[in-house]
Amino acid sequence: MTALLDALLLGAGYNAALVAIGASLLGFAAGASGTFLFLRKRALVSDAVAHATLPGVGLAFIAMVALGGDGRNLVGLLAGSAVTAVIGLLAVEWITARTRLAEDSAIGAVLSVFFGIGIVLLTVIQSMAQGRQAGLEGFLLGSTAGMLFQDAVVIAVGGSLAVAATYVLRRPMTLVAFDAEYARAAGVNVRHMDLAMMGLVTAVTVIGLKLVGLVLIVAMLIIPAVTARFWSERSEHVVWSAGLVGAVSGYTGAALSASAPALPTGPIIVLVCAGLFVFSLFFAPARGVLAAMLRFWRFQRRVHLRQGLLALARAEPIHDAFTLRVLRQKGLIRADGVATEAGRAQAAKTARDEHRWAIAREVHQDTALTGRYDGLTPIEAVFTRDEIAEFDRRIGGPTMVASGGPG
């Protein structure tokens, strides 16, 4: 536990602190830019982009070795991965635009083929003299063990640039994500915005390769956005909360993984993020599962309460067990089913309101008002006090049935 606390407070060593800061910056950038991808309903394109980075890493290594360099230079490897990622992205767009294949087939084809080519290149590198300790497999699932200061700087600078670009482009990208036609009419170049969005996603993917690896970087782009969506209906809130979710999971995940052995950074970050997602799925206000269940439960109670009160007013027997329970809990009937004082009063009010609604439907031609009758909306919420007084006047006072009918 203290090890975790140490790590959370950046006290678990220089390297761990670097990783934690880098991971939170990356998480923020991925969450914020991934939101637009999610809102545009193209979340899985990032999967193709991520897998398409692998051949670039291999080619960059081979090229750098052929030029007499080290081959493990992170900037060089990332530059190579960006090139093939963009080629992969363009391939997805080209297949979708020019053939009858749907986008999901294009994504799947590009990701598997590029990944296959990448694996072929990795085996080529393994057979090279300089390739034995290349450690390029680390890009599959991320590896933070040998992270250098300059690697962390690359991640930090890249992450900050991605966040800044997201901030600058947030309005047009939101517009395009919600209504591409309207955006086009408003003078936004939809194609350029799409390219900018995918460019951001590519940048985040490339930056995240070292930290979480290409198989799992997709999670950092998708899960924070989906999680944040539960908490807000406003896109700008979703963008920044997604960034926050990504940053928190990046930071916590990196700290967790530094606190004990055999806790690989990438998977832990993703699992922390998935934990936040599951929490939001169940407990988010308004959109969460629990909130939906509560809403349903309250609605059910209100329906049963009203039916029970109407039955009391008409002196009809109540058989439904749930209705009886609701009435009893509210103190409207006694244990033996007889209405209490309060029960009779509320029953009378419910019956009178029902009568008022009936009058309202006769008097008012405005269906926008009378159409709001659903048995649950209180009449005071729809009509003014004067109008209700008018309904009451039409209903008239109590009449004595015994004295020979109304009159």
Binding site: A43, R98, L101, G108, V113, F115, T123, L140, A225, L263
Partner: protein, 311 residues
């Protein structure tokens, strides 16, 4: 020369082809139903399934692993559906959330458990071990009729053949309902076909094919074969029957060509070491798809005629 081929190349090529066909058959319907990425999701969640099976049984035997992987695939499908409905999230994102989280859990379990003594690691899961499925007793073509030599065949061959046969049989038996519900779900419902069950059954069969193939050839081939041959076949014809036939041809061609290129290609270029066969098979299937995209007779979308494409 012949004996070397039979010993070292015949069985991997056969297993690769069988795996490719087993994945391509259900892949045809997945591509048409726009569920191509189900294959991607399944092949990711196979990893946690296999790790859990290993942790429960503590052995690397085949049956529990297949069961674990199939169980994980079903769990993933259920989870995707649940997240989609409970959270009102679009299918692609729900899929992305599910398979990445499960894959991460699989990697973590793998790191946490002591699997150093057995051959179980992420790279193996991704790339498979097609090259190691050799037939040492196959010392020549005449070994094909030698019972003793045949007993030395790698067990993956029999397993893959059985899986492929089962997938083919199911495809033939359920051909009509599959075809109808794929092209016109409303019409299928009007005919009282259980469309939900058909959809789920298709996913389960795809999962089975993926799991069986995964064991022998790794998940790259699985994803590539689910999508590339059927997608290429889709550009060749307008008839489902011929599309399936084309996809089988493309799948086998990818497997054979890919293996040969990986095994012998570097030698032709003067290098000594073979490259990954799984990766090369995926690359060849991609090349076939690229050719189909460029020259396939039915590549254009209906309605997007010649005047619409400014090439």
């Amino acid at each position: 020369m012949a004996s070397e081929f039979v010993q070292f190349s015949l069985t991997p090529i056969l297993i690769g082809s069988l795996a490719a066909v087993a994945c391509a058959l259900p892949g045809n319907f997945l591509v048409l139903r726009r569920q191509a990425l189900i294959g991607d999701a399944i092949s990711h969640v196979v990893l946690p399934g296999i790790v859990v099976a290993f942790l429960v049984t503590a052995t690397v035997s085949t049956l529990p692993m297949l069961l674990g992987a199939a169980g994980a695939a079903v769990v993933a499908v259920v989870l995707i559906e649940a997240i989609k409905r409970l959270g009102r999230i679009e299918p692609g994102a729900a899929m992305g959330v599910t398979f990445t989280a499960l894959f991460a859990a699989g990697v973590l379990l793998l790191e946490q458990s002591d699997t150093s003594s057995v051959h179980l690691d992420v790279e193996h899961a991704l790339m498979g071990n097609l090259e190691s499925l050799i037939w040492l007793r196959g010392t020549g073509w005449d070994a094909l009729v030698d019972w003793r030599a045949l007993q030395g065949l790698p067990p993956e061959l029999g397993r893959m053949a059985a899986a492929c046969a089962l997938v083919a049989l199911l495809t033939i038996v359920f051909w009509r309902p599959l075809k109808i519900s794929t092209f016109d779900e409303g019409f299928a419902q009007a005919l009282n076909l259980p469309t939900t069950a058909i959809g789920l059954g298709l996913v389960v069969v795809a999962a089975m094919a993926a799991v069986a193939a995964f064991d022998a050839v790794g998940s790259i081939i699985v994803i590539a074969m689910f999508i590339c041959p059927p997608a290429a076949a889709r550009l060749m014809t307008n008839r489902l029957e011929s599309q399936v036939a084309w996809s089988v041809v493309f799948a086998i061609a990818s497997a054979v060509l890919g293996y040969v290129l990986a095994g012998y290609g570097p030698g032709w270029l003067g290098a000594h070491n073979a490259v990954s066969a799984a990766g090369m098979i995926a690359a060849v299937s991609g090349a076939i798809l690229a050719l189909a995209c460029l020259f396939g007779p039915h590549r254009a979308r209906i309605g997007a005629g010649k005047e619409a494409s400014p090439v």
